[in-house]
Symmetry: C2
Amino acid sequence: MIAEKKKAFNAFAAKKGLRSTRQREVILDIFLSTHEHLSIEELYLKVRASNPGIGQATVYRTLKLFVEAGLARELTLSDGHTRYEHQMAGEHHDHLICLNCNAIIEFEDETIERLQKEIAERHGFKLVTHKMQLCGICPSCRKAAIEKVS
Amino acid sequence: MIAEKKKAFNAFAAKKGLRSTRQREVILDIFLSTHEHLSIEELYLKVRASNPGIGQATVYRTLKLFVEAGLARELTLSDGHTRYEHQMAGEHHDHLICLNCNAIIEFEDETIERLQKEIAERHGFKLVTHKMQLCGICPSCRKAAIEKVS
DNA sequence: TCATTATTGAAAATGATTTTCAAAGTTTCT
DNA sequence: AGAAACTTTGAAAATCATTTTCAATAATGA
């Protein structure tokens, strides 16, 4: 799966006439090796740990490329830190976010997707994408809150 | 409806021990007199047009108060400009956004709301709120695109 | 009115992201 | 391989929305 994505990025790079550099390889490897929703800051720290020479600007630039290439998706939470998550062609998921501890859980729901498409069509829109975040309190924060009270 | 909202804000202000100032009244009047999804910048310009003395910081501060009071809702699009829209207690709507001209259309869908609640419950979350944006191409931009081709 | 406390405007600070620019690296052409 | 042509990079500076600071001003309650 990782090899697939690397190939996808290389294909994208070739089509765009991008050059292949050590920095981009390192950042791609590290990005693909994670399965969390990492912020640029976190990603940059991980990158710097093994490759002290690589600068933030490069990490910013490279992640934008990943998005363009369809490997990554930007996730804008309200904490002011843009996060990046893996994105596979065609696939698609939404998020359940804990307002207390910021835990992020992914989910998919076909019925909602279908309804969204219908709503768009009803308004004459051609649906391209969507963002859906359900915000609430996760099980462990609920439990903690209950314990605090009793 | 406007009078209602003013009353709601005054009640909130009283409960919070906020003082009533000319600035807040002006900003509330102007906010309530619009029905678009205005950015702070736009709102500030409108405010300044009739009341040149009022500063941006005050507009920022006051809109946060409106959100806290439940009169307004923050809408974060990807253009980096926070927008504010009217919010009535209990009511709730989502957005259909044109990726081309940034037009915003509001909609509600009970079925989706119910499904969202179910999804949250299935994961043990207590659902507090949600954000849903359907992004696509609006009817007039679609038409324009077709005309351009032919 | 006076004392207390909140609010304001202007300017400075913040902080994430982007841009600039000279140096270094990659690719292409011969 | 060598050289021209063009990209990419890192560091620092710039940007830009938003927040904070702070001294001055205004609202409130006694």
